[in-house]
Symmetry: C2
Subunit: 231 residues, 2 copies
Amino acid sequence: MVTEGKVCECKDCIVRSLIFEHVSSEELGTFCNTKREQFFKKGQIVVKQGDPIADFVYVKEGLVKLYNEAGQGREQIISIARPYDFISLLTVFSETHYHYSVSAIEDTTVCIINLERIKELVCENGSFALDLLERMSRTADKLIKNYNDINLKNLRGRIAYILLNFADKIYLRNRFDLPVSRKEIAELIGMTTENVIRILSEFRKEGIIRINGKEIEILDKAKLEFLSQHA
Amino acid sequence: MVTEGKVCECKDCIVRSLIFEHVSSEELGTFCNTKREQFFKKGQIVVKQGDPIADFVYVKEGLVKLYNEAGQGREQIISIARPYDFISLLTVFSETHYHYSVSAIEDTTVCIINLERIKELVCENGSFALDLLERMSRTADKLIKNYNDINLKNLRGRIAYILLNFADKIYLRNRFDLPVSRKEIAELIGMTTENVIRILSEFRKEGIIRINGKEIEILDKAKLEFLSQHA
DNA sequence: AGGTTGCTATGATATTTATCATGTTATGAT
DNA sequence: ATCATAACATGATAAATATCATAGCAACCT
């Protein structure tokens, strides 16, 4: 984990207020002295699988992917995280080394807090502890639901699902640039690269989407929703 | 959730000491007054998806399955939980209704604590809060790893994997009675019932296992381990 | 004890998905 | 601007998995 970075200009950081709404001004001041921001360009590694865990990290701005390097150069993408999502939440309290890697898929700024500080705050502030339990609970639940949803779908359903996810959850519009390659989409939803390309081409031929390189425009959202639900 | 049950005879409950090792005798006394045990016969439902969440539940003795009723009468089994595993951990802090059902797959005793009491303890006792974060973190991490492992395997690898899981993690021996049907195995590892039956038959013909109805004996563990890793 | 339902088992066939090969285009480095 | 590499795209074929059908056995209910 890169340890340099300037101290957070806290008054501009809306992420902080969402996370630490139960923290008093005094406690907040303490954090401001130690919290750091780090900027990563698209493609850079934020957290490396196997590195010792020292920090609590969350996304302030940008987009990252969480992935598992499964051996033989293979990757499995676990999720794509955006602002307000925690990155390392699921392992930092139970392991000494990161189980996943995190890298930026768009230019990204993360906030970094020493994990010991977080643990101290958990011990001192019950409301904060409960809030953290809630966020961890929600993150885990979402992942499980996602895994189960994906596993029930055929290949067309999966592509429909992920396109709708980009449109409705990440970019909030029907026209966007994919932040990842076809290969990475395959790693995220458990297909091969060629099949991702084929299904996207089918959707283009069927007039469901328009493709211009990385740029995707959804033309028939109702059809995508149908495919996502009934596949 | 069934609400009747006799008060816990705490001195016999080794589960309690594992979970609440940071709790003082005074706090423990408070819990003893409110914690309840409930017995469920194989097949009975412990927690029903959609029911409002009021309790914190864990397995004292026996075996349960966590499952998602996915519509059209279909189930997806998320995991099998045994003593010391939490059952409802992943949703109780972030939702108002259970996202999963839980039912006993062997005769099972669970301990039940009112969730508000747990939340109060989280607020009062920082060490307990940290311990709970660690357990939740570990549970979630295990599930994610399991999903990712399973998704990389073909059908023979999945059957090998689940048989080894029963042998090494649940029954701690190479000969055991399956606690679930072939259909439920299919729901756990994402296959069809017929394929589970076929692969088990293949393993029997290849001399890898011996099958006697629900009773399974592993004859060639090295082969199973190989199949689990290279499929 | 008998009947009903669910589970197990096997065979045949259909469908889905992966793999391999080849060519084109885009991107990044020099 | 050029070259090399990676990504995208398409076609053909193989492999894996699901589906459908049928029969026998086990478990549960009356």
